[in-house]
């Protein structure tokens, strides 16, 4: 039994060590990810200014090109109208895209925070279940159980010795004396006892 127990102890220690190491890595990673996302939620979102400025400049330059040329005032007015319309439409488009992107970003952050936050709490619950399992594997007190078992065994032997007729035990002798002169009903304890004496 000792070999198996020692092997079990060694395996438990190895698994416990690996668990600790792996948990540390996973915990640090999850913490880094969730801290990052909380930072974004607190306002430190990714800077997209360059992107929107570039798109807006594209709109302005594109609008300038639509102006076209013309020597007469009518052509020039038509060109200005086209350019202004192109600029207004382009700017609206970029603003709309910017707004949609902002909403997407907020939804993404909320989704990541809630989904992975929930996942982390689920893992915490699994950890609690393992703890319960570990507790259930613990004997209430192995040493005390052994002592009590030994004591129970001892008292059983002592009790048996006390019950043994003619053993010298005062209780057993007294009981034998009590029943010695009596004949109880057939099949009764005292009758059986007296039969045994015949």
């Amino acid at each position: 039994m000792g070999g198996r127990d020692a092997e079990a102890e060694r395996a438990a220690q190895i698994n416990q060590g690996l668990s600790r190491e792996q948990f540390q890595l996973g915990y640090q990673g999850a913490k880094a990810g969730l801290d990052y996302e909380r930072g974004e939620y607190a306002g430190q979102t990714m800077d997209q200014t360059g992107k929107w400025e570039a798109k807006m400049t594209d709109v302005l330059e594109g609008a300038a090109l639509t102006r076209g040329g013309g020597s007469d005032i009518r052509s020039q007015i038509t060109g200005l109208e086209k350019a202004d319309s192109a600029m207004a439409l382009g700017r609206s488009g970029v603003e709309q895209e910017k707004m949609a992107s902002g909403l997407d970003e907020i939804n993404r952050i909320r989704s990541v925070l809630s989904g992975h936050g929930l996942q982390a709490t689920n893992l915490a619950s699994q950890s609690g279940a393992l703890q319960s399992q570990a507790i259930s594997e613990m004997a209430p007190n192995p040493t005390m159980s052994t002592i009590l078992a030994a004591a129970a065994g001892g008292s059983a032997i002592y009790g048996a010795y006390q019950q043994k007729p003619g053993s010298g035990s005062g209780v057993a002798q007294e009981r034998t004396a009590t029943y010695a002169g009596q004949t109880g009903p057939a099949g009764s304890d005292s009758a059986t006892l007296n039969l045994g004496r015949l």
Partner: protein, 206 residues
């Protein structure tokens, strides 16, 4: 001592699988650790551009600018060559004017390219961040689950370790006393009991 053949085989297998477990862990875990740490480092502070994207787009910008620089430097010579080969008479300074026009066109293109690069860089930053964040969280949660798997193994292993020092001592005491009684009733019983009890205590994990 006193092991059956089956017990010896089981014991050997137990040692072998324990060794395989360690080897596989030492093979996989460092890779996981390295990838996780790299991604966390690359992502940087919340809201910042991932370092890998920044480096890549800086290199791209330099390369694109170098291409435009080269074309702009070649423009005056190309314009002059074109006028010479054309065989037509031209005003003095016509080649220079043509060259300026080419360079102005190239500058427009350079700025347009730079804006496209800016948009692409922002999009790449967000995509990289999304990818890295998703991998970091997914892998980390997987690692924690795997840690729990090891814990569950450890609990099962611990439940198989039934050693109890006091139980061992009592059992040893009884055996020792019996042997001692056979050898020399009375004193032998006591001596055998004591020796058996002490031996049993340590054999039982004490």
């Amino acid at each position: 001592v006193g092991q059956t053949e089956g017990q010896a085989t089981a014991s050997g297998l137990s040692a072998q699988t324990a060794s395989q477990q360690e080897e596989l862990f030492r093979l996989g875990q460092p890779s996981l650790k390295m990838a996780l740490e790299d991604m966390i480092k690359d992502m940087g502070a919340p809201g910042s551009e991932p370092q890998s994207v920044k480096t890549a787009f800086e290199a791209l910008g330099k390369s694109q600018n170098a291409a435009f620089d080269q074309s702009e430097k070649a423009a005056p010579l190309q314009a002059e060559q074109a006028y010479k080969q054309g065989g037509m008479r031209a005003d003095p300074g016509a080649a220079s004017s043509a060259s300026d026009q080419i360079i102005a066109g190239l500058e427009d293109q350079r700025r347009a390219t730079s804006r496209q690069r800016q948009v692409a860089e922002t999009d790449a930053s967000m995509q990289t961040r999304d990818f890295e964040l998703s991998r970091i969280l997914g892998l980390s949660e997987g690692a924690v689950s795997s840690a729990f798997g090891f814990s569950a193994n450890a609990i099962r292993d611990a439940s198989m370790d039934q050693r109890n020092p006091m139980g061992g001592a009592l059992s040893g005491l009884a055996t020792g006393a019996a042997i001692g009684t056979e050898v020399y009733p009375g004193v032998g019983t006591v001596v055998g009991g004591v020796i058996g009890g002490v031996g049993g205590y340590f054999a039982g994990g004490g």
